[in-house]
């Protein structure tokens, strides 16, 4: 290869560079990075399928054993049992969007191409939020639709979207789905580790279940109510089914928002200041 060929190969593209819309470039790049990875589709698909399948199977189980149930089962809450599986897998997705870059070393490429770290941070946050919001609503709507079909086929009571409580819960759980994935992204950024990020995000998610309902009521009311998952459930679930660990919806929203702000804020500061 001669000198002339390198120049011929390279010099033509000057001026074609888009320097003006820097954030749009960063966002487009981050999107392309995710959209061309098979693991993105596998992870999101797995979250969706596990949730919907769980709700369908639980629906079938409930329908086939309904004669032995004494109490009444809400067709709304029963249809949402699969949510937790989606939440786990989508949270892993959130952690991976960042931790994978530290593990593979591509974070340095990302930050060399876009030295303004605010842009990279905002692009990643925007994408995780947007993708998991879409996936979350699709998941809860599908779970609800499949479960009602199962309930109807097995002669159980059903609910429909025209029911305000049902719409509140289905949309609420769907729209709240990005909460833990965003925290996962933040923990992935703080810990720069896939295992660490997943453990922390899922630990917070599972804490209420670990304590269960065997602890004293005051502990549920004053301590467990401060956990992020109980804060969110106070908004999305408490209008149908309540526990002492739930707060008033507005307070619950404030508790959840405080967690989100603290973790995302800490991640932002660390990402800005630390050596890459």
């Amino acid at each position: 290869m001669t000198t002339a060929t390198i120049s011929a190969n390279t010099r033509r593209m000057r001026g074609a560079v888009n320097r003006d819309t820097r954030f749009a470039n960063t966002l487009a790049s981050e999107w392309l990075k995710l959209a061309t990875l098979r693991s993105t589709y596998i992870t999101l698909g797995l979250g969706y399928l596990l949730s919907v399948a769980t709700s369908a199977i639980v629906g079938i189980a409930l329908g086939s054993t309904r004669d032995t149930w004494s109490g009444d089962i809400s067709p709304i809450t029963a249809s949402m049992v699969g949510t937790v599986f989606g939440l786990i897998v989508y949270s892993v997705f959130g952690v991976l969007t960042v931790s994978r870059e530290y593990a593979s070393g591509t974070m340095r490429l990302t930050l060399t191409a876009t030295p303004d770290r605010r842009q990279v941070f905002l692009a990643k946050l925007t994408l995780v939020t947007a993708i998991v919001t879409v996936a979350g609503v699709a998941t809860t709507v599908s779970m609800f639709a499949i479960s009602q079909a199962v309930f109807s086929a097995t002669g159980m009571p059903t609910a429909s979207f025209t029911d305000g409580d049902a719409l509140h819960m289905v949309l609420g759980l769907g729209l709240a789905m990005p909460f833990f994935p965003i925290m996962g992204m933040a923990f992935g950024m703080l810990l720069r580790s896939t295992a660490g990020g997943i453990t922390t995000a899922l630990g917070l998610l599972w804490l209420p279940q670990i304590f269960g309902e065997f602890v004293p009521t005051w502990f549920q009311e004053h301590i467990l109510s401060l956990l992020p998952s109980n804060g969110i459930d106070s908004v999305t679930v408490s209008h149908i089914e309540s526990t002492p660990a739930y707060s008033a919806p507005l307070l619950g929203a404030a508790i959840a928002a405080a967690w989100l702000l603290a973790s995302v804020g800490a991640a932002y500061i660390a990402f800005q200041r630390r050596d890459a």
Partner: protein, 318 residues
């Protein structure tokens, strides 16, 4: 033009880069040399705005990297060739980087062609050999057609054909007037590629000079003189400022160049049987200079055996 000014980086107690200053000029290939752990990679990371200096600064064309509006069009970098997501194909890998820099998609095919990876463009990089990763890394660095190229150990893992290719490639880029900085811990590699070298050890500047000057200044360079009049010639040489040692029938002269020794012999009508300049190899000169600056020393005797005597750190400007 890259300008490093009084650059210092500390990690707790450890000083990785210690008040380092040098310039990298356009039009030549500049080698950045030092033993492993000397601070080369840390310096390059600070140059790219990835690490923040404890004090001092490094600028690219007068600005810090983070303030360049379209950085990929000014600086192309290869830090870690294996930094890629194994699930991406070569084309996809380059595409997301290009898009981040606002560089048109068509450029991806051009750089793949430039480094000879067009045939494997659709293959996942997870299955690439180290040599292919190096070429992919260079392709990424060339995406923005930058005037400045920074490459950290680019020949690592390349086969002889790949090494020959990269040497030619970098020299062509320099010949086009671009600034090329490449690091290596292998002195022999620089001998064939670089025109100018910056040597550091324990984060400090040891030498900033041309390759030729570097070997010439090293104490390992000497002239071997064989003469039947050695006994009378030796005091004359010493009088002219040379240091003499004896090796069987020969005089080992340091501190005088061969032409001067020949002239002195002619002047005093001494017969000469042998007048042979012996250049220290670059490797030996390097070992000598960086001795004591290596973070981890194996057998100290092994290093001293190559080049006896410790040369005080010298700053050589040209």
């Amino acid at each position: 033009m890259i300008e490093v000014k009084d650059l210092t980086k500390r990690y707790g107690e450890t000083v990785a880069v210690d008040h380092l200053s040098f310039r990298v000029r356009p039009g030549v290939v500049t080698g950045f040399l030092g033993p492993n752990g000397a601070g080369k990679t840390t310096t390059m990371r600070m140059l790219l705005g990835l690490d923040v200096p404890t004090s001092g600064e490094v600028t690219v064309n007068g600005r810090s990297y983070r303030h360049i509006p379209a950085p990929m069009c000014e600086v192309g970098a290869l830090l870690d060739a294996k930094a890629a997501n194994g699930g991406h194909t070569a084309r996809q890998h380059l595409a997301w980087i290009a898009r981040a820099g606002g560089i048109p998609e068509s450029r991806v095919a051009s750089v793949l062609d430039l480094v000879g990876l067009t045939e494997v463009a659709g293959r996942r990089v997870g299955g690439f050999s180290l040599g292919m990763y190096q070429r992919l890394g260079i392709a990424a660095a060339m995406l923005g057609d930058p005037d400045i190229l920074i490459l950290d150990e680019p020949v690592n893992g390349l086969d002889p054909e790949g090494i020959r290719w990269i040497r030619g490639f970098l020299q062509q880029l320099a010949a086009e007037g671009r600034t090329v900085l490449l690091s290596s811990h292998l002195m022999s590699e620089m001998e064939a590629t670089a025109d100018h070298i910056v040597v550091i050890g324990r984060g400090r500047l040891i030498a900033d000079t041309s390759i030729a000057e570097f070997t010439r200044r090293s104490t390992g360079s000497h002239v071997r003189v064989v003469s039947p009049h050695a006994a009378r010639f030796a005091p004359v040489l010493q009088g002219a400022g040379a240091a003499i040692s004896h090796e069987e029938h020969a005089l080992i002269v340091t501190g005088l160049e061969a032409d001067r020794i020949g002239a002195l012999a002619a002047e005093h009508r001494f017969e000469l049987h042998e007048l042979a300049p012996r250049r220290a190899s670059l490797e030996a000169a390097f070992m000598e200079l960086t001795q004591g600056s290596q973070e981890y020393q194996g057998a100290r005797s092994a290093a001293t055996a190559v080049a006896p005597g410790v040369l005080a750190p010298t700053r050589m400007e040209n």
